[in-house]
Symmetry: C2
Subunit: 330 residues, 2 copies
């Protein structure tokens, strides 16, 4: 696989240098691998720190800014960041109001954020944590005890971020984060395998004419392989898989997410099919977001995340956000 | 090639239905293939209409909204829209202040927008036109007499759109559009070929281990093929190709654009190299935009567009914009 890189060893540092020059509102520590909003710490405001392996961009660095994350810690590609990054990030964003760690459920991430929480608390920073585990495809996956954390991360970061921006205290911001995770479920589909810079070739074999239903964002195996399906059939399968687990009693926000290698033209067409299934199932849709937000490098495919919202969560969704990848005003 | 579609024949209509449900601020006429901002016509405001073959998303439909395009006309994949679409769009957005057509320089687009201008003027709509021809790679390409129109389209649409939003008259908005086109140059590189839904397989052959320098956004041949290069070397080649033609005497805005299939992680790393070359060449950079904006379906690769700006153009760039793909406030 050809890649637009220098050498695999510098991919993450190169990207951080490129982020720094593109986004002067961010403070990027390339050596220590921490991306912080430029005005941190914000007086009286709870800090939000997330992070994880690189290769899922714009998650998480693209979600740092007013109304969303205070800081992000990128690891090597598909590899957890280390506790030192998270401790630095917490120190950089803590105003005294405490810091919420938002952790996708992968074994390495969970262990490292746990260790970082202890170290940060030793330094006097109050830490709370929200674990994101929204992927209904499988339990106890390749890198996971329990469910994987995928598209719901965007919702937890946006909605808890908006609550923090409003000045809500740590226990409230944490409670909102937990509630969002419990209200959101995802299902992903791969049309092609993903190639990492280190390997330089596809990390698994997915032949022409087949797709993988229930794929993870690192290419972890899903539920089953089938002969290639239409957008109509894939939407039926993915949305129904989510609705087997989440039975919304109020409207949902729909994230129709690209895995990185699928053209936006196809994603919008897929969204039309997702909306059809939701309409057939009688699920009202309050908002829809279509695009590449929680990706897996060059993998072709998509995922659907539905997040059930009440008036409070919808208000937090509509609140202003100003990050590299997600931005809107009132 | 596996694609997230139903059948090739409905790809564009499916995507328009998906856009309509994701963006309630847009008025999408799926049957007639016109995407209009929901509040058009805006009293006293010049209308801006663009369009072209589909497959370059978010261009153009993703740039419809306050501060940018009034309407977009998507053709079939890599095929010009027809004059009837443009006439409908002009009628929908004209408030009496006239309409500017923004036309990428491809033979079909130029002919059809010319014909549409005559028809719209017969119906009493005053029409002006700006031709975008910024690609320095080749002249007289596969579908072009003269240079191709690529990344500068985003700049013409944004800056002329901001001028129209301010209430400037048609001749001023047209003059700004022309000045932006004259101030902007692009160069693109492909790492892989593009696959269209109709063909279902790569439209040309680009072997592993080679890249194409000077590619067009439909996969038209570029200047030359070479053995695969590093991000460092590609940035040297692309930026220097642009600077051979554009010798900026004031700061530039840099668009570091993905062709669709290249991960954002790689694009940010490439941006670091682009900024290095610009710094070495003594070109100050006022703003930088990194992402997939003028794409070629699933093609892996990138392009660099530099647009020289004075105070007026920089003010128009920073003006608020609220579209699906580009949005920021003051």
């Amino acid at each position: 696989m050809k890649m637009l890189i220098n050498v695999p060893e510098t991919v993450v540092a190169d990207a951080l240098r490129g982020m720094a020059s593109a986004h002067p509102g961010l403070s990027v520590d390339v050596d220590n691998r921490v991306v912080v909003r430029g005005d941190a710490p914000v007086a009286g405001k709870v800090g939000l720190v997330s992070g994880g392996g690189s290769g899922h961009e714009p998650l998480h660095g693209g979600f740092v800014g007013p109304g969303m994350l205070s800081a992000a810690c990128p690891g090597e590609v598909f590899t957890s960041p280390v506790p030192d990054q998270m401790v630095r990030a917490a120190a950089a964003v803590d105003s005294g109001a405490g810091v919420l760690f938002i952790v996708k459920n992968y074994t390495g991430d969970v262990l490292n954020f746990d260790m970082a929480a202890e170290l940060a608390e030793d330094e006097g920073v109050q830490i709370a944590k929200v674990l994101v585990n929204d992927d209904v495809a499988v339990t106890d996956s390749l890198y996971t005890a329990g469910r994987r954390g995928t598209g719901a991360t965007l919702f937890v970061e946006k909605l808890a971020g908006a609550a923090a921006e409003e000045g809500q205290p740590l226990e409230r911001v944490e409670a909102i984060g937990r509630r969002v995770n419990e209200s959101a479920r995802s299902f992903g589909v791969a049309l092609t395998a993903v190639s990492t810079p280190a390997k330089g070739s596809p990390t698994f074999d997915l032949p022409e004419g087949e797709l993988e239903l229930g794929i993870g964002i690192h290419g972890e195996p899903g539920r089953e392989r089938r002969a290639m399906m239409t957008s109509h059939e894939i939407a039926d399968f993915a949305v129904n898989a989510v609705l087997e687990d989440l039975r919304p009693s109020s409207p949902v926000i729909a994230l129709v997410n690209g895995m990185g290698g699928t053209p936006l033209l196809e994603l919008y067409g897929f969204n039309a099919e997702v909306q059809r299934v939701l309409s057939e199932r009688g699920v009202p849709v309050a908002r829809t977001l279509v695009g590449n937000y929680v990706t897996s490098l060059d993998m072709a495919g998509c995922s659907v995340t539905l997040c059930q919202v009440d008036e409070e969560l919808l208000r937090l969704w509509d609140a202003p956000v100003e990050t590299a990848a997600l931005r809107w005003g009132r």
